[in-house]
C-alpha cells in the first residue's frame, strides 16, 4: 500500500459523501454523507502522517483523532436538529421543510 492508494480511497469517499448529500432525500442519509466526508479527511491525515511527515511526528494522527471527536459532536447536534424538524414538520425530508423562501 502506498500513499496513492490511501489518497484515492479518501477521494472516492469524499466524492461519495458529496454525492449522498446532494442526491439523498432524507436527512439521516445526508448526515451519513457528511460523516463520509469527514472520515475521508481523517483518512487523509492519517495517511499523510504515516507516509509524509517524519515517523516521530504524529501531528497528522492527532488531527485525525480530533476530526473523529468533532464528527461525533456534529452528528449529535445534527440528530437533535432532525428531531426538532420532525416534531415541527412531521417529516425529515428536506424538500418538505421549506417555509422560508424568497
Amino acid at each position: 500500500m502506498t500513499l496513492q492508494h490511501y489518497l484515492v480511497i479518501s477521494a472516492i469517499l469524499f466524492t461519495l459523501g458529496i454525492f449522498a448529500v446532494l442526491t439523498r432525500r432524507n436527512a439521516i442519509s445526508i448526515l451519513m454523507g457528511i460523516e463520509l466526508i469527514l472520515n475521508s479527511c481523517n483518512l487523509n491525515f492519517a495517511a499523510f502522517s504515516r507516509f509524509v511527515t517524519p515517523s516521530d511526528d504524529i501531528n497528522g494522527q492527532i488531527i485525525a483523532i480530533f476530526g473523529i471527536v468533532l464528527a461525533a459532536a456534529e452528528a449529535a447536534v445534527f440528530l437533535a436538529i432532525i428531531l426538532a424538524i420532525y416534531r415541527e414538520f412531521g417529516s425529515i425530508r428536506p424538500d418538505e421543510v421549506d417555509t422560508l423562501k424568497g
Binding site: I34, I81, R87, P94
Partner: protein, 494 residues
C-alpha cells in the same frame, strides 16, 4: 521567535480561561435561580464579558510583543486583540438585545447565555489560530454552537428549519474545508500556518507538488471560510437562517460570525500565503475580485423585493461581506486596514439596525416593512435612529459607513482595480433603493390601525445611543484608524 510551552502559555490564555469559567458559572447559576429570574444569569454573563475584556486589555498592555502560545497553536498579537474586543462588544450587545427580546423562552435562557459565551470562545480562537488543527477546531466550535442558537426557538417551525438548513450547508462546507486542510497538511508536511507557505513554495519549486493540487486545496479551504462570511456561491444558507433565527442571534451571526470569518480569512491568506510565490501561480486577486463583485451584486439585487426586514438585512449583510472582501483582494496592508476599520463601523450600524428590528418586533409584533408604517410619528426617536443606521449602511456622508467605504474604495483603486470600485459604487446606489423603502414606510405611509405614540424606556434609548453615537462620529475620530492600523502592522509578512 520561539513559541511558548503549554504551561507558560496559560497566563497569556487567561481571557479564554475566564470565558470558560464564566460559561460554567452561568450554567450553575441557572440551576440555582428560579425560572422567572433569568435576568440574573444575563447579568452574570455581562459581568463575565467585562472581566474577559479587562483581562484582554491587561495582557495586551503587559506583554507588548506578539507571542505564539501552546507550541505555535495560537498567536497573541494586536490583530487578535482587535478582534477579541470587537467580538466581546458584539456578544455584550447580543445579550442586551436578548434581555429585551420577547421571542426567547425564559426557562431556557440560562443555556442560551452559556452558549453565547462558548461561541465567543470559539471566535477568540478563530481570530488567533495559527495551526490547521486549531483553525478547524475553532471554526467547528463556532459553527456547532451557532446551529444550536439558530434553532433555539424550539416551538417555532421557522427556527428549526433555519437550524436544519444551517447545519446541512455548514457541515458540508466545513467538511470540504477539512479536506482542503488535509491536502495542505500533506503537501506541506506541517500544520503550522507560519511554515506552510514557505514549505509549499519550496516543494512547488522542486516539482514535488503540482500547482493544481495547491489550487484545489486552497479552493476547498475557501469554501469553509466563504461559508462563514457568506460570500457567493456559499451564501445560500444565510437569508433563510437570518430570517428563521431569533433576532438577537441574527444580529450576532451577521456581525460577530462574519468578523471572525474575516479574521480567519485574513490570517490564513496573509500569514500563510501572503508574500510567497504561491500567489503568482494562480491569479488569486482576480478570483477574489470576482467573488467580491458577485457577492455584493447578488446580495443587493436579492434584497430589492424583500418584505421581511430581517431577510432584507440578511441580504444587505451578504452585500456588506462583498464590500469587505474588496479590501482583501490584493492582501495589501492598506486593504486589510480598511477591512478592519469597516468591521468596526459595520458592528455599530448593523447591530443598531437589528436593535430597532427587535424593538419594532416587540411593539408592533411584525417583522415586515408594513410594521414600520408611521413609525416616524409613533416613535420619532427610534425612527431617526433607524434612518441614521440605514444611511450609514448605504454609505451616505457624514456617517461612519461613508468613511469605511471610502477606505475600502481607495484601497481597491490604489491597486488599479477600477472596475471593482465601479461595481462597488453601483451597488451602493442600488442598496439605497431598498434601504429607502424602510425610510418611506416610516415617514410617508400611515399605519392601518392605531396611531398612538409608543413609549420606550430610558434603558432602550441609552442602549440605542450606544450604537447611534459611534455611527455618527467614528469617521471623525483618529483613534479608530490608528487602532486598525496598529492591528495590521503586526501581521508577519514573509
Amino acid at each position: 521567535m520561539q513559541p511558548l510551552s503549554n504551561i507558560d502559555s496559560l497566563l497569556h490564555f487567561s481571557p479564554e480561561i475566564l470565558l470558560v469559567i464564566f460559561a460554567a458559572a452561568v450554567i450553575i447559576l441557572d440551576l440555582i435561580v428560579k425560572d422567572d429570574e433569568s435576568v440574573a444569569v444575563a447579568y452574570l454573563s455581562l459581568v463575565g464579558l467585562g472581566c474577559v475584556c479587562a483581562a484582554v486589555l491587561i495582557i495586551h498592555f503587559s506583554f507588548r510583543n506578539p507571542v505564539s502560545l501552546f507550541e505555535g497553536m495560537i498567536r497573541l498579537d494586536e490583530f487578535s486583540t482587535f478582534f477579541k474586543i470587537l467580538l466581546l462588544f458584539a456578544t455584550a450587545a447580543t445579550i442586551l438585545f436578548s434581555l429585551r427580546s420577547e421571542e426567547l423562552d425564559e426557562r431556557l435562557k440560562g443555556e442560551y447565555y452559556a452558549l453565547l459565551l462558548a461561541i465567543t470562545l470559539g471566535m477568540f480562537l478563530m481570530a488567533s489560530a495559527t495551526n490547521l488543527l486549531m483553525i478547524f477546531i475553532a471554526l467547528e466550535t463556532v459553527s456547532l454552537t451557532s446551529y444550536i442558537l439558530a434553532g433555539f426557538l424550539t416551538h417555532s417551525p421557522r427556527s428549526s428549519e433555519a437550524a436544519f438548513k444551517y447545519i446541512t450547508y455548514g457541515a458540508v462546507a466545513s467538511g470540504t474545508m477539512l479536506f482542503g486542510l488535509s491536502l495542505l497538511f500533506g503537501m506541506a508536511g506541517t500544520g503550522d500556518l507560519t511554515q506552510i507557505g514557505g514549505q509549499l513554495t519550496e516543494h512547488l519549486a522542486s516539482g514535488a507538488v503540482a500547482p493544481l493540487a495547491v489550487l484545489i486545496a486552497i479552493t476547498f479551504v475557501l469554501a469553509g471560510v466563504g461559508y462563514k462570511i457568506a460570500s457567493v456561491p456559499f451564501h445560500m444558507w444565510s437569508p433563510d437562517v437570518y430570517e428563521g433565527a431569533p433576532i438577537p442571534i441574527t444580529a450576532f451571526l451577521s456581525v460577530a460570525s462574519k468578523s471572525a470569518g474575516f479574521a480567519l480569512f485574513i490570517r490564513f491568506f496573509y500569514t500563510g500565503f501572503g508574500a510567497t510565490g504561491l500567489m503568482e501561480a494562480v491569479d488569486w486577486p482576480l478570483m477574489l475580485a470576482i467573488v467580491s463583485a458577485l457577492t455584493m451584486t447578488v446580495g443587493n439585487l436579492a434584497a430589492l423585493p424583500q418584505q421581511n426586514v430581517k431577510r432584507l438585512l440578511a441580504y444587505s449583510s451578504i452585500a456588506h461581506g462583498g464590500y469587505l472582501l474588496m479590501g482583501g483582494v490584493l492582501l495589501t496592508s492598506e486593504g486589510i486596514e480598511a477591512i478592519l476599520f469597516y468591521l468596526i463601523v459595520y458592528l455599530f450600524m448593523n447591530l443598531g439596525a437589528f436593535y430597532v428590528v427587535v424593538l419594532v418586533a416587540n411593539e408592533m409584533g411584525s417583522e415586515t416593512i408594513e410594521g414600520y408604517r408611521g413609525l416616524g410619528s409613533r416613535a420619532p426617536l427610534i425612527a431617526i435612529a433607524m434612518v441614521i443606521f440605514l444611511a450609514s449602511l448605504t454609505g451616505i456622508p457624514p456617517f461612519a459607513g461613508f468613511f469605511g467605504k471610502w477606505l475600502l474604495f481607495t484601497a481597491v483603486l490604489e491597486q488599479g482595480y477600477y472596475w471593482l470600485a465601479f461595481v462597488g459604487l453601483l451597488n451602493s446606489v442600488v442598496s439605497l433603493y431598498y434601504y429607502a423603502r424602510i425610510f418611506k414606510a416610516m415617514y410617508f405611509e400611515d399605519a392601518d390601525e392605531e396611531t398612538d405614540r409608543v413609549a420606550f424606556s430610558t434603558g432602550t434609548f441609552a442602549l440605542l445611543s450606544v450604537f447611534v453615537i459611534p455611527t455618527i462620529f467614528i469617521g471623525f475620530l483618529n483613534i479608530f484608524y490608528t487602532f486598525s492600523n496598529v492591528s495590521v502592522s503586526v501581521l508577519p509578512m514573509q
